[in-house]
Amino acid sequence: MGATEPARDRPLVVAVGETFETFYAREYRALVGLTYVLSGSRAGAEDLAQEAMTATYRRWERVSAMESPTGYLRRTAANLAASAIRRRVAEGKALLRLTGQRATPAAELPILPPDDDAFWAQVRRLPRRQAQAVALRYLYDCPVLEVAEVMGISEGAAKSHLHRARRTLTSVLGLHGPGATEELAS
């Protein structure tokens, strides 16, 4: 079968010797998680993740030479998710205007326990940059500096987004406690 395998004209090698195939296998599922928490749609999340992967694959030669191909991929996916939300809101408004009916969300798999689902639902209600910062921080367990790099902003700005997001989420989810107080004080 070796001779009949699809041959690549050029090996897709990352700077550290990683092929796109390996990169895809490593990142894809977590990427679906990111697009899911940001878009709120499981079915749409897979489409968005595929779209981000495809965009990365098209520019792989350039992306693979970057310091962090993963950062590029996550930023692309986060932006696509934001666009998808804007599109969905606009479509919902148009439907309401035309028919007087609100759009009914398509049936999706209830994939998260209710408490966790509620957490991400509140995250999606945050301003876009704050939501992205929280998703990157906790989903990927990223240090603040890495959150800033992925989002293409300064570390201070990332800290600010996270701080505001945390304050809002703590309030709406009723998560006041000693740790929260410490964090806010810092």
Partner: protein, 240 residues
């Protein structure tokens, strides 16, 4: 941040739940993206769907082509041709055609320009400045053709020839008029016969007080049909 921080605990729990949830995500898409072609059962379904769409498109094209031929309506859709060379003809004020490199112009006079193409033994594109017309001598050539009792007007519609308002006429000869010389804009020189089986498409228009006609010149329906792709593809640009 401490382990007892309720926010941190909740956020990390929510993140863990997401990671657990996406463990079951299908990676089939990875195969399609990486290899550029579908595979497996899903691939078969995709290929079948693609084949069905292709079939519908081909069928639509065939139906449209067949219908056009049955109506015998050759079309004229001038568009620039890549690699063409400009020909500044003697016809009219500043008439220009872009002639493909592989073709040649056979005849060019101040009154008539015939483009014959070397990959066609008969037929060509004829552009004429019409000096006279048997059915009348009005300023409106389209109206003169309409009044010509030798032809039946199948359709008349507005058109544009390189920005000039034009009339597109499709004419058939009336019974008894078969392949007779229809009219000749330059003296008594034979120049154009009407197509006896129909499908004569003419573009007539005025420019600076002169009357012009653009037509695919051919002698019968077969030649008209053979002519059509040439007219469509090689009529090139009519510029003033």
């Amino acid at each position: 941040m401490t382990n007892t921080d309720p926010f941190e605990t909740r956020a990390r729990s929510a993140a863990t739940a997401v990671h657990v949830a996406v463990r079951g995500v299908d990676m089939t898409g990875a195969v399609a993206t990486l290899h550029g072609r579908p595979s497996g059962r899903r691939g078969t379904v995709v290929l079948a769907a693609a084949a069905a769409v292709l079939l519908v498109v081909v069928a639509a094209v065939v139906v449209r082509t067949t219908r056009d031929q049955s109506n015998g309506l050759p079309s004229f859709n001038p568009r620039p041709l890549t690699g063409a060379t400009a020909l500044h003809s003697q016809l009219g004020p500043g008439v220009r055609f872009d002639v493909p490199k592989t073709r040649f112009v056979e005849q060019d006079t101040p009154g008539i320009l015939v483009l014959k193409f070397n990959d066609r033994t008969q037929g060509g594109l004829i552009a004429m400045r019409v000096a006279s017309y048997p059915a009348g001598w009005g300023r409106d050539l389209a109206r003169d053709v309409r009044r010509d009792n030798r032809v039946h007007i199948v359709s008349a519609s507005g058109a544009t020839v390189a920005g000039e308002p034009a009339t597109r006429l499709v004419v058939n000869p009336v019974p008894g008029i078969t392949a007779a010389p229809w009219f000749c804009p330059v003296g008594g020189r034979p120049c154009m016969d009407i197509n006896a089986t129909g499908g004569n498409t003419l573009y007539v228009f005025n420019h600076r007080g002169q009357r012009y006609m653009l037509v695919g010149g051919s002698l019968n329906a077969d030649m008209t049909r053979a002519m059509r792709p040439v007219v469509d593809g090689a009529a090139a640009t009519w510029q003033w």
